[in-house]
């Protein structure tokens, strides 16, 4: 059953970036078909039932980087997006035996809010540190919303883009500019050691620099990843850490409605086998069923390795480019832990606002670095680093009445485990539960269901090669103008008519939607789509 009139655009993959891209293209009058392999769109921005009656955001569990502007532009709230909670606080779990700045340590550990009033002697330093980083974030934020310029370009638009970047930094003023140039290449460990004394505070602040990366706090480049997170947060607007009602999947559902309202045709259970190439250009796609669908342009929401090596095929690309794609580092280093609980956990005795917020287990820089050490060698640490939420405290509908879900990112879990993952999932799950039990005695006994998604599981579940939710590591040499690889950093690929719109592009992943939006703008600006 072949389509007769070619679509203007076929989007491969209904992840949030694909949906955003499709919607914006359709609104500008393009005929768009979006093909999703699974039975529902959303990709890794999904809500799944992991135990009978218990649902969880199965990958990303908080939304804080999607620009408010984009949410408005797509009218997502009109299409059903509701917030169960916004501006969630972050606290860090301080073990019972460790000191709490400002005092007041509790026997089961203390949940220390990362807020000036709680930081004791580090308060003043924190306020000036946070203010300065915010200034840097604001100066860098515009970079995220624009397609990276090309080096060596003669295009006026690109040169203007580079000049704007330089000018934005220059406008910080001499002292700030010098500091930004100084710390830009640094590691977050050294930066935090310069400013603070409290181990608990340093560990917590470092965690935001390494979460979702393949770095430890001592790795050069972690100030960059921190600034990236802060810049994206600044560009997103004042909403802060937010939880959609119904889990992150509800965001994807709203995106799907917005897409449909704009005229995008969405087909699920339609996995794409390959991109059709005719006369050295993309001419559509072939589904796994054999169905051929013609299109004037093809946009891939899939990760770059899948796109180039699987959907397109090395034979359509030159060897140098293929080598670059093969060398793209895209192995996930984080796992996801889901616990179904028959009662509310009380981690470190936290209640109310803090309990419903984000809690970090990263009690010191050394704790994080040691956990990272293990991951370098294909091991996981017996002292895992966790980012924890209990989403049912804000959104009871995710579980049966009175029962709860705990959703945690376990950082530093390698894709390839020495000795293989067979039998190890249970061991790691048990380790995490034991770790949590120390802060919430009785938690283990309240567990009625558990699931651990390792990077290979994430790869399989969400069809991301390598299981990395950013589609490719966030690192200096895989960033901005060279993300994912030189020659494909402006959403275009070496094959005319084939584009990229996913997290493997600038500005990376994290349920942002900016990559999808920038891809649409790039395609609309081009004369060939």
């Amino acid at each position: 059953m072949a389509s007769t009139t070619p679509y203007d655009i076929v989007v491969i993959g209904g992840g949030h970036n694909g949906l955003v891209c499709a919607t914006l293209l359709a609104r500008r009058g393009r005929s768009v078909l979006l093909l999703e392999a699974e039975s529902a769109v959303g990709g890794a921005a999904a809500t799944r039932e992991f135990a009978p009656g218990f649902r969880v955001s199965s990958c990303a569990h908080l939304v804080h980087l999607m620009p408010a502007r984009l949410i408005e532009e797509l009218a997502l709230e009109r299409h059903g997006l509701e917030w169960a909670s916004q501006a969630l606080p972050t606290s860090t779990l301080v073990p019972a035996e460790a000191p709490v700045p400002g005092g007041g340590a509790l026997p089961n550990g203390t949940a220390l809010p990362i807020e000036p009033e709680s930081l004791g002697a580090d308060r003043a330093a924190y306020e000036s540190y946070a203010a300065q980083l915010q200034r840097f974030a604001r100066a860098l934020a515009p970079v995220l919303g624009r397609v990276p310029p090309r080096l060596g370009t003669r295009e006026w638009a690109d040169i203007a883009g580079l000049a704007r970047l330089g000018w934005g930094i220059r406008r910080l003023g001499r002292s700030d500019m010098r500091e930004l140039l100084r710390i830009g290449g640094m590691n977050v460990y050294d930066l935090l050691e310069e400013h603070f004394t409290s181990s608990a505070l340093k560990g917590a602040l470092a965690f935001d620099a390494v979460l979702g990366t393949n770095f430890g706090p001592r790795s050069p480049g972690t100030v960059l990843t921190l600034l990236y997170r802060l810049a994206a947060g600044s560009a997103a607007g004042p909403r802060g850490l937010a939880q959609p009602r119904g889990g992150v999947g509800a965001l994807s559902e709203a995106l799907a409605r917005a897409a449909a309202a704009a005229g995008v045709v969405i087909r699920t259970r339609a996995p794409v086998a390959e991109v059709m190439v005719e006369n050295d250009r993309a001419a559509g796609v072939v589904l796994e069923s054999g169905e051929r669908i013609a299109a004037r342009g093809v946009v891939s929401n899939a990760d770059p390795k899948t796109t180039f090596l699987q959907l397109l095929g090395a034979r359509h690309l030159d060897t140098g480019f293929v080598r670059r794609v093969k060398h793209l580092r895209a192995r996930g280093l984080a796992a996801k832990l889901h616990l179904a609980l028959d009662r509310a956990p009380a981690l470190a005795g936290a209640s109310g606002r803090l309990a419903g917020g984000r809690m970090l287990l990263a009690p010191s820089l050394e704790y994080l670095e040691r956990a990272f050490n293990h991951a370098k060698y294909g091991e996981y640490s017996k002292a895992p680093a966790l980012e924890i939420t209990v989403p049912t405290l804000n959104d009871p509908g995710l579980a049966p009445p009175g029962q709860h879900v705990l959703s945690a990112v376990v950082q530093y879990v390698p894709y390839e485990l020495k000795g293989g993952w067979e039998g190890e999932r249970e061991r790691l799950t048990g380790l995490c539960i034991d770790t949590l039990e120390r802060f919430a005695p009785g938690l283990a006994a309240s567990i009625v269901g558990a699931e651990l998604l390792t990077p290979p599981d994430i790869e399989r579940e969400f069809r991301i090669s390598g299981g990395h939710w950013h589609h490719a590591e966030l690192a200096f040499d895989q960033f901005y103008m060279v993300r994912p690889v030189p020659g494909a950093a402006q959403h275009r690929t070496p094959l005319p008519g084939l584009y990229l719109c996913g997290a493997g592009c600038h500005p990376g992943g994290g349920v942002m939607g900016t990559a999808g939006r920038n891809a649409a703008l790039e395609i609309l600006g081009s004369t060939t789509a």
């Binding site: 370009t153 001499r174 500019m177 140039l181 080598r323 050490n373 060698y377 060279v482 030189p486």
Partner: protein, 540 residues
């Protein structure tokens, strides 16, 4: 060493510290007609580029041990061969494998390819591409070494001009190469090597130079640059080749001393500087420990930036935020050294007899993981249980350093912390560190221990106390992105001039960093001369 510039003779410039950079700066200034004097705390000159007779009639290069990075333009300008410096290129080198095998390096290209192919045919193919790509990066960077870094926050014409020059050079690489260069400057050595090679031994061998003197592991971003730093030398126009200074590294600084004296400069040893004299924001000279004052309108400090600004310059004479930045400048000790007198040449059964590769540098780390784990130990405040070592027996081609038939082995070790987690360095712990290294070597040489006549074990603490390098860091400061170019040593002060008028920095804490290169000293001298042309009354 002669004593001059005393009563009656007015000095134009003083140089604090007779390390190689200070001597080089002094030579250039003397040749430009200035009356200069170098003040050295120790009874010997050379800093860390010295040959010391510490055991009977054995000469040790007891800190720096090979020559490659010394800029050829400096060697020529200061006529160092005329003053006795002879560099003998050496061939080869190897890495021993845990299982008893080895990877040898040869100067002959075909021999090298065959050797790599013995471990991996694919890697032998990739080697040429690797060498070409690294060389390309070297060629791009080389001209930048002898230039003052621009201040990107300034609108001064000289800075804008330099930024434009750098931008144009970069742009001229073409788009593809620009991306390569950007990535190269930010990647880890391990990731960079992964893009070429598959066999662990080949990767481990090349990764070694990415961690020398550095408190980073091969998997840390930024180490591909450090690898490059060690490639950048010229010996007989073979970029990346290394050589021995005949008579040990002290021959370099001895030749510099003679060159200086021939140009009319003078050196005073046993002359430790206690304080810089400052009046109205300008330096007027120095005060020695003991009270003697020596006047000069220009002072260059070869000390690292912390020793300069936190020890010999009064804080009240410096801007507060400058002092803060100096405190933040990272100078971390991560290297140890053993200098060993041997009763004969050790046997290395893994190497076929007669092979030239024992005459080069020998290593025992055969996987990147082993190297990275050695770094993990340092992070925990321990010396590496399985350290990376770079060992050399220069007496095989330079017989002048020891009695006939006897040998000297230099062993450079990563990693060794300046401060141990368990407490201060003491004799017992130093011995423990030494034993770890000796045991490591002995595993590859069954008669090694029997041949040891004397072993000098030097921790970063020892190196600091003897030659004045803070924490024994051989580069006078980490070579990380945040401490290079316009950030080195302090943003806004990366052009050799200190916040005190007339005071300059000429040591490795400045661009382009350390190793026995000499570029900082030469660049600092140039800065002094540029500034003096605006002050004609100070030129003699």
């Amino acid at each position: 060493m002669s004593d001059a510039g005393g009563r009656g003779e007015r000095l134009d410039a003083l140089i604090v510290g007779a390390g190689h950079n200070g001597l080089i700066a002094a030579c250039y200034l003397a040749r430009a007609g200035l009356k200069v004097q170098v003040l050295e705390r120790n009874p010997f000159i050379g800093g860390a580029a010295v040959s010391r007779r510490l055991y009977r009639d054995f000469t040790y290069s007891n800190c720096s041990y090979v020559c490659s990075l010394l800029r050829p333009e400096i060697m020529r300008a200061l006529e160092l061969p005329r003053f006795g410096l002879q560099i003998i290129p050496y061939e080869g080198g190897c890495t021993f494998m845990q299982g008893g095998g080895h990877l040898a390096l040869y100067d002959n290209h075909d021999a090298l390819r065959r050797e790599i192919a013995r471990h991996s045919v694919r890697d032998a193919e990739a080697y040429d591409r690797y060498a070409r790509d690294v060389m390309r990066q070297c060629k791009f960077i080389k001209p930048l070494l002898m230039r003052e870094p621009p201040d990107p926050t300034s609108f001064k014409p000289r800075d804008l001009k330099e930024l434009l020059y750098l931008g144009q050079r970069f742009h001229r690489l073409g788009e593809e190469r620009m991306y390569d260069t950007l990535r190269f400057w930010t990647m880890s050595a391990a990731d960079f090597l992964d893009e070429y090679f598959e066999s662990e031994i080949v990767k481990a061998h090349f990764a070694g130079s990415s961690i020398i003197g550095t408190a980073l592991g091969p998997r840390s971003p930024g180490t591909a640059y450090v690898l490059l730093h060690h490639y950048m030398g010229d010996i007989d126009d073979t970029v990346g080749a290394w050589g021995f200074a005949r008579g040990g590294m002290g021959a370099v600084t001895q030749a510099l001393g003679r060159s200086l004296e021939a140009s009319g400069g003078s050196i005073r040893t046993d002359a430790p500087v206690a304080q810089l004299k400052v009046r109205s924001g300008r330096t007027t000279g120095v005060v020695l420990e003991g009270g003697e004052e020596i006047d000069a309108p220009v002072v260059l400090s070869n000390l690292d930036v912390r020793r300069t600004f936190l020890k010999i310059v009064d804080a009240k004479d410096l801007p507060a935020d400058f002092v803060e930045r100096v405190r933040q400048f990272k100078i971390r000790g991560s290297s140890g050294k053993l200098n060993i007198a041997l009763d004969g040449l050790p046997r290395f059964p893994a190497i076929p007899p007669g092979s030239p590769c024992t005459r080069g540098d020998m290593h025992v780390t055969d996987t990147v993981e082993m190297m990275e784990r050695a770094y993990d130990d340092w992070k925990e405040g321990r010396w590496s249980r399985a350290p990376y070592i770079d060992m050399l027996i220069p007496t095989q081609i330079d017989p002048t350093m020891t009695p006939d038939g006897k040998h000297y082995m230099s062993v450079f070790v990563q990693y060794c912390p300046y401060r141990l987690a368990e407490g201060e360095w003491n004799a017992e712990r130093r011995q423990g560190f030494g034993n770890t290294v000796i045991d490591t070597i002995a595993r590859h040489s069954p008669n090694f221990k029997d041949l040891i006549l004397h072993a000098e074990v030097r921790t970063p603490w020892d190196i600091e106390n003897e030659v004045g390098l803070t924490e024994g860091n051989i580069f006078q400061g980490e070579l990380t992105m945040d401490q290079l170019l316009f950030n080195r040593p302090v943003p806004g002060f990366a052009q050799y001039r200190a916040p005190v008028r007339g005071l300059y920095m000429c040591g490795s804490s400045t661009h382009p960093g350390g190793g026995v290169m000499g570029a900082p000293g030469a660049n600092a001298a140039r800065a002094v001369l540029k500034d003096l042309r605006r002050l004609p009354e100070a030129v003699s």
